[in-house]
C-alpha cells in the first residue's frame, strides 16, 4: 500500500502553532500550562498530553545574521520503528500506509519506547500510566480526512498526501530554495533511519533545527533486539531475574486500576 505522510515545509511556516491547537482539539488533550521560561516554545519537548510542539530556535548565521528557525516536532513514524520492537506488550503497530500507532489499552507505561526512540518522542501520561505520541491522525486518515494539523495550517507549510508525490514536491522545493538564498536547503526524513513517514523541507542543515543530523538507534537497543529478545528464554533468568518480572507484572496490575484524571484545565 502507498505510504501516506505529512510534508512540512519550514520555509512556509510562521510558527503560529495552529497545528499544536488543532492536535489538542482533535485528540481532546488538556492544556499543559507551563510558565513562560524565556522562549516562545511552550514545552521543551512533547509530553503526555502534547503530541506536537513547534520549536523556536535562534541562530546567528555568519552571512545572514539573526535567523529564527521554527520546527514542528512530533513522532516521525519511522519505517522501521524501534519503539515497536522494544515494546514488551506489543501495543505498537504500524498501519499499512505508514502510521505508527499505539493501543493504549495494552500500554503499561514502561517507557521502553521513549528510551528506544531516536527522537525521544513517546512521553508519559501519568493520569493513565501510559506513554503517548502523535498518531498521524490515523482514524481521520482512514476516513479519508487529512490529519488535524495539516488541515488547519493557514500558510500551506503542512501538507498531507502520498509520500512519493510529496517527495517529488519536496525535491522541487529544495531546488527552488537552493536557488533562492538557501544553499543548504535539504529534505529530512527521506533516508534518515531508513526513511521516516514524516517529510521535512529544511532551509538549512538539520542541526540548525535541533534535529539529529544522522539519527541513530541506541546501542542498547541493538543489544536488546539481537540478544535479549531472541534468547529471551535463557537470558531472563540469568540477567533480569525475578525482580524485572515482578516490575513488569506490577505495572500490568497498576494498569488495570481505573484511570484517574489529574492536571488539565478542561
Amino acid at each position: 500500500m502507498l505510504k501516506m505522510t505529512n510534508l512540512y515545509d519550514v520555509s512556509k511556516c510562521t510558527a503560529c502553532r495552529g497545528c499544536q491547537v488543532a492536535c489538542k482539539d482533535w485528540n481532546q488533550l488538556p492544556a499543559v500550562i507551563e510558565p513562560f521560561t524565556g522562549n516562545y516554545q511552550t514545552h521543551e519537548t512533547t509530553n503526555g498530553d502534547t503530541y506536537t510542539i513547534v520549536k523556536f530556535i535562534e541562530q546567528i548565521d555568519d552571512v545572514k545574521g539573526i535567523q529564527w528557525n521554527f520546527l514542528k516536532f512530533q513522532c516521525m513514524h519511522c519505517f522501521d520503528p524501534e519503539c515497536m520492537k522494544v515494546c514488551p506488550t506489543d501495543c505498537i503497530k504500524q498501519t499499512e500506509w505508514g502510521a505508527v500507532i499505539k493501543d493504549y489499552d495494552k500500554c503499561i507505561g514502561c517507557h521502553y519506547c521513549t528510551y528506544a526512540c531516536p527522537f525521544e518522542i513517546p512521553q508519559y501520561r501519568k493520569r493513565q500510566d501510559i506513554t503517548t505520541k502523535c498518531t498521524l491522525c490515523y482514524e481521520r486518515v482512514e476516513e479519508g480526512l487529512t490529519p488535524a494539523c495539516a488541515r488547519t495550517c493557514p500558510t500551506g507549510a503542512l501538507q498531507f498526501g502520498e509520500r512519493e508525490e510529496l517527495l517529488i514536491q519536496a525535491r522541487e522545493r529544495v531546488k527552488f530554495l537552493k536557488a533562492n538564498g538557501f544553499p543548504n536547503a535539504t529534505i529530512y526524513g527521506e533516508k534518515e533511519l531508513g526513511g521516516l513517514n514524516k517529510l521535512y523541507v529544511l532551509t538549512d542543515t538539520p542541526d540548525k533545527f535541533d534535529l539529529p543530523v544522522d539519527p541513530k538507534v541506541s546501542g542498547n537497543i541493538g543489544f536488546w533486539q539481537n540478544w535479549v529478545q531472541p534468547y529471551f528464554g535463557w537470558l531472563i533468568p540469568v540477567t533480569l531475574g525475578a525482580s524485572a518480572l515482578s516490575f513488569v507484572t506490577s505495572r500490568l496490575l497498576a494498569n488495570k486500576a481505573p484511570a484517574h484524571t489529574e492536571g488539565g484545565h478542561e
Binding site: T14, C16, I33, F36, Y40, T155
Partner: protein
C-alpha cells in the same frame, strides 16, 4: 513596516509567500525587533520605534535624487504638478501659519495657486520651484541616508538594501505593496506615518493597481466595517462628518460648510438626506437634521478624551461594549481610576472582562507600591455595574467587512451559550424599550426618539434582510419603503430616498425573495477574467465590495494615461475605444475618454481629483520627523521635539530620559487576541503564551543583570508592571547618533482574569495621541527595567 503580518495577520501573510514563490516577490520586514515576519522575509531592517517618517523621508530623497519615481504616473495622477502659493513655507520643523498658543496651524497658508476660472495652476514639466514635486524635493533635502540612519538606528547597508529593493517598484512594469498596522498608526505622528506610505506609493505609481496599494491590516476582523459604520465620534455612517453645534447649526449650514465644489463628494447632501430619511422616515431631512446629536465645537471626543472626561467627572454613565480599556486603553491605571467616577456602567462582552470587574479585589493588585492615580478597593467604589453576556461571532449571523472592503456575510454556526445574545438583539431590545419609555411624550426635545423609525420585524432577533435593505436604500412611497435603489447614484437629496449607509448602497439592489439578493451572501469562488486578459484575483461574484463591488479603488491608475494596462498580465481596467472594461468595476466615468477633458482625473473622491502628495493634515502638508512624546534623544532634523499639533493631556507625566532611559513599545502575538478576553479564557491558547513577557536584548540583560526567564519590573511615570524576561538575540540596541540606546517590547494582551494572566502592559503607556485622530502613542515611550 509597522506590521508583523506573519504573527498578527497570518492569513494575509500566506499570500505574500505565494507571491514570492510564484512571482519572485521580495518581502521586506522593517521592525524594531526581529519577528516571525522577519524570519520569513527576504530583507530585515531594524528601526527605532517612532522614527518611521525619517525612514520614509530618506526613501523620498533617494527616489527623487535618482529619479526612480514613476514619472508618467506622478505627472498625471498626482498633484506633483500643482503650484502652491507663496504663503506656504517651512522653517526648522514648523510650516507657515503656526499658532503656538493653540498648537494649531492656519491651513489656508498651504493653498494651491488657482487660475482665474478657479481651476488649479499646474506645471506639467514639474520644474517650477513652487510645484509640489519641487517642494517635496526641497523638504526632504535634509533626509540624507547618514542623517536618517543616525535617527532610526538602522544599519546603513540594511537601509540601502531596503530603499533600493523598494524603489525598484517605481518601474512602470513593477508593483509594490505596503502592509501596515498599529506599528505605524499608534504614534503622535500616526496619521503622517500613513500619509508617508501613501506618498511613497504615489511616487512609485503603486496605487490603484493590482498588487499595489497601502494596505491597512486592521486591529480586528471588522475594524473596516466599524469605521464604515461610524463606530467613531467624528463620523456618521459612510464617512459623513458628525455636525458641530455652532458651525453646523442647521441642515443648510452643514451642507454649505462640508460639501466640496469638485470631486464626487459634491453628492454629499444626497447621502446625508438619505441617511436622515433612514433614521426619521416621516420627517423632512431639513427638520430631522436638528434631531442629530451635535458635538460641542472644537471639543475632543476621542478615546483618550472620553477617559480624561470621566477622570474629571464630566461623564456619569458608560456603556462599554466589546471593549476592555483597563487592559487595552492607554495609561490603563488612569482609565481604571476614571471608571470610579461613574455612577453606572454597562459592560457587554463574552466573559467578565478586567473592565467589567474593575471594582473587584483582583483589580487592586500591583507589583510595587507606586500608585499614581489612586487605585481604590471595592468598598471605596460606588459605581453600579451591569453585565450583559454577548454572543461570539459563531453564535450569530451578520456581515463583516475586511480591509479589502469586502462585505462578507457569515451564517450562524451554533446556538448561543447560556443567556448570551447577539449584539443586534441587545441594541434592538434597548431601543424598543427606550422608545416605550418615551411613548406619548409631546415634548419637542423627545422627538429624536419618539419620531425615530425603528421597525426591524417582530421576532426576538431583528430581521437581517430588513436591515440590509435599509442599508442599501429604497425609494420612499407614501412614507413607506418602496422599490430598492440599484446603488448610491440613485440617492436623492429631496427626501424621496432613504439609505442607512451610502457606501454600502448596492449590496441589496433587488428583492427577489432569495438569500443571495443580499450580495454579501454570494460565494462564487471563480476568478473569471475579461476576454483576452489574465485574472487578477478580483473574484467579482464572491461576496460584495463597497463601493459598487469595486475591488481596487482608484483603478483608473492601473492603466496608462492613454488607457492601456501598464503591465498586460495585471490588467485591472482599460479603455477599449468606447468604454472602460476589464477585471474590475471602473472607478471612473464608464465612458469617459482617457484623452478627453478630465480623462486622467483618477482620484474622483478628492476635490483635486488626483492623488495628493501634498495634502493638509493638522501638522502640515508634508510629513516631518518629530520625536515621540517620550524620547531619549533630541530631534536631529529640527528643533521641534514633539509633533507641534498634538494635544498634551498630562504634561507632568512626561518621563525624564535620565530617570527612564529605555525605549518601550507594546505588541501582540499570534496566540492571543486584543485585550485577551477571547483567548486568555481558552486553556489551549493560554498554554501557548501563558504569561506576559518582555523582550529585550542580551546587551540590556547583561547591563541590568537579568537572566532569561527572570521576573522583572518595568516602570514608567504612570505605573509599574511585572513581566517575565525574554532575553533574545532578536532585539538589538540601537546606535542613535553615535550612542547606544535600548528598546524593550511588552505584550499587551494580559490582565488579571483567565488561564493566562498577568499585568496589563498599558499601565505603562501614556495618555497622548496623534494630532489628527488621537490614536494613542502605544508604540514609543520611556521606561526603566529591573529584576523583580
Amino acid at each position: 513596516m509597522g506590521s508583523n503580518a506573519a504573527e498578527n495577520h497570518p492569513i494575509s501573510f500566506k499570500w505574500l509567500t505565494e507571491a514570492r514563490d510564484k512571482r519572485g516577490a521580495k518581502i521586506i520586514s522593517v521592525d524594531p525587533r526581529f519577528t516571525r515576519t522577519s524570519a520569513r522575509a527576504d530583507i530585515y531592517a531594524p528601526l527605532r520605534s517612532g522614527t518611521d517618517i525619517a525612514f520614509m523621508g530618506g526613501m523620498f530623497k533617494y527616489i527623487l535624487d535618482n529619479k526612480l519615481y514613476h514619472e508618467e504616473y506622478v505627472k498625471w495622477y498626482t498633484n506633483a504638478t500643482f503650484i502652491v502659493k507663496d504663503s506656504f513655507d517651512f522653517d526648522d520643523g514648523l510650516f507657515s501659519g503656526y499658532d503656538p498658543q493653540k498648537r494649531a496651524y492656519d491651513q489656508s497658508k498651504w493653498a494651491y495657486e488657482t487660475n482665474e476660472d478657479g481651476s488649479y495652476k499646474k506645471d506639467m514639466t514639474m520644474e517650477d520651484p513652487r510645484c509640489v514635486l519641487q517642494l517635496l524635493k526641497k523638504h526632504y533635502e535634509r533626509y540624507d541616508i547618514d542623517t536618517v540612519c543616525k535617527i532610526t538606528g538602522t544599519p546603513k547597508n540594511k537601509y540601502l538594501e531596503v530603499v533600493k529593493a523598494y524603489a525598484a517598484t517605481g518601474a512602470p512594469d513593477k508593483v509594490g505593496t505596503i502592509m501596515y498596522a498599529m506599528g505605524t498608526t499608534q504614534h503622535t505622528v500616526g496619521t503622517e506615518n500613513v500619509r508617508a506610505f501613501a506618498m511613497l506609493q504615489l511616487l512609485l505609481g503603486n496605487i490603484g493597481r493590482a498588487g499595489g496599494g497601502v494596505n491597512a491590516l486592521r486591529g480586528e476582523s471588522n475594524v473596516q466595517g466599524s469605521t464604515d459604520w461610524a463606530l467613531l465620534y467624528h463620523i456618521l455612517p459612510g464617512y459623513l462628518e458628525t455636525p458641530e453645534a455652532k458651525k453646523h447649526s442647521n441642515y443648510q449650514a452643514y451642507v454649505d460648510a462640508l460639501t466640496p465644489k469638485t470631486g464626487y463628494w459634491q453628492n454629499k447632501p444626497k447621502f446625508l438626506s438619505s441617511l436622515l430619511k433612514a433614521y426619521w422616515m416621516a420627517d423632512d431631512p431639513v427638520k430631522s437634521y436638528d434631531y442629530l446629536p451635535k458635538r460641542i465645537d472644537g471639543k475632543h471626543y476621542e478615546h483618550i478624551a472620553l477617559f480624561e472626561a470621566m477622570y474629571n467627572k464630566e461623564i456619569e454613565g458608560l456603556i462599554i461594549w466589546g471593549s476592555n480599556p483597563i487592559v487595552g486603553g492607554p495609561d490603563a491605571n488612569k482609565e481604571q481610576a476614571a471608571l470610579y467616577n461613574l455612577k453606572w456602567m454597562v459592560a457587554i462582552d463574552l466573559w467578565q472582562t478586567e473592565t467589567s470587574e474593575f471594582w473587584t479585589y483582583k483589580a487592586v493588585d500591583r507589583p510595587t507600591d507606586k500608585d499614581v492615580y489612586g487605585i481604590k478597593k471595592p468598598e471605596e467604589i460606588d459605581t453600579e455595574v451591569f453585565f450583559l453576556p454577548a454572543c461570539n461571532s459563531y453564535e450569530k449571523a451578520g456581515s463583516v467587512s475586511n480591509s479589502g472592503r469586502w462585505m462578507q456575510y457569515r451564517w450562524q454556526a451554533c446556538d448561543p451559550v447560556g443567556e448570551s445574545r447577539a449584539d443586534l438583539q441587545i441594541v434592538n431590545d434597548l431601543m424598543l424599550r427606550i422608545k416605550k419609555l418615551y411613548e406619548g411624550s409631546s415634548k419637542p426635545q423627545d422627538e429624536p426618539i419618539t419620531k425615530l423609525t425603528w421597525d426591524y420585524g417582530h421576532g426576538d432577533h431583528p430581521d437581517l434582510n430588513i436591515i440590509a435593505r435599509e442599508i442599501n436604500g429604497f425609494e420612499i412611497v407614501d412614507g413607506k419603503p418602496g422599490k430598492l435603489v440599484a446603488n448610491f447614484t440613485k440617492l436623492k437629496d429631496d427626501g424621496t430616498t432613504a439609505s442607512g449607509n451610502w457606501i454600502y448602497s448596492g449590496c441589496y439592489p433587488e428583492d427577489n425573495g432569495k438569500d443571495e439578493d443580499y450580495l454579501a451572501r454570494r460565494r462564487d469562488n471563480k476568478d473569471a477574467a475579461y476576454p483576452g486578459t489574465k485574472p487578477i484575483g478580483s473574484y467579482l461574484n464572491w461576496s460584495w465590495c463597497w463601493p459598487v463591488n469595486r475591488r481596487i479603488i482608484y483603478n483608473r491608475c492601473s492603466a496608462t494615461p492613454e488607457g492601456q494596462p501598464w503591465v498586460p498580465d495585471l490588467t485591472s481596467i482599460f479603455w477599449n475605444g468606447e468604454k472602460w472594461v476589464g477585471n474590475d468595476v471602473p472607478d471612473f466615468g464608464g465612458t469617459k475618454d482617457p484623452n478627453g477633458p478630465g480623462g486622467r482625473d483618477a482620484f474622483i473622491m478628492r476635490p483635486e481629483e488626483v492623488g495628493c502628495i501634498f495634502s493638509k493634515r493638522n501638522e502640515g502638508p508634508f510629513p516631518e520627523h518629530y520625536e515621540p512624546w517620550e524620547s531619549p534623544v533630541k530631534n536631529l532634523l529640527n528643533s521641534q521635539e514633539l509633533n507641534p499639533a498634538v494635544v498634551i493631556w498630562e504634561p507632568d507625566k512626561k518621563a525624564d530620559p535620565e530617570e527612564y532611559p529605555i525605549i518601550g513599545t507594546t505588541y501582540r502575538v499570534s496566540e492571543h487576541w486584543q485585550s485577551g478576553v477571547m483567548t486568555r479564557m481558552q486553556p489551549w491558547l493560554a498554554e501557548l503564551v501563558p504569561n506576559v513577557f518582555v523582550e529585550m536584548s542580551e546587551e540590556l540583560a547583561r547591563e541590568k543583570d537579568i537572566k532569561n526567564g527572570n521576573d522583572v519590573i518595568i516602570s514608567t511615570t504612570r505605573g509599574d508592571i511585572k513581566a517575565i524576561a525574554c532575553v533574545t538575540k532578536r532585539f538589538k540596541p540601537f546606535n542613535i547618533n553615535g550612542k547606544s540606546y535600548h528598546e524593550i517590547g511588552v505584550l499587551w494582551h494580559f490582565g488579571f482574569n483567565g488561564f493566562a494572566n498577568g499585568d496589563p502592559a498599558n499601565r505603562l503607556t501614556p495618555h497622548i495621541g496623534d494630532a489628527n485622530t488621537m490614536i494613542p502613542e502605544y508604540k514609543a515611550w520611556l521606561c526603566d527595567i529591573r529584576r523583580a
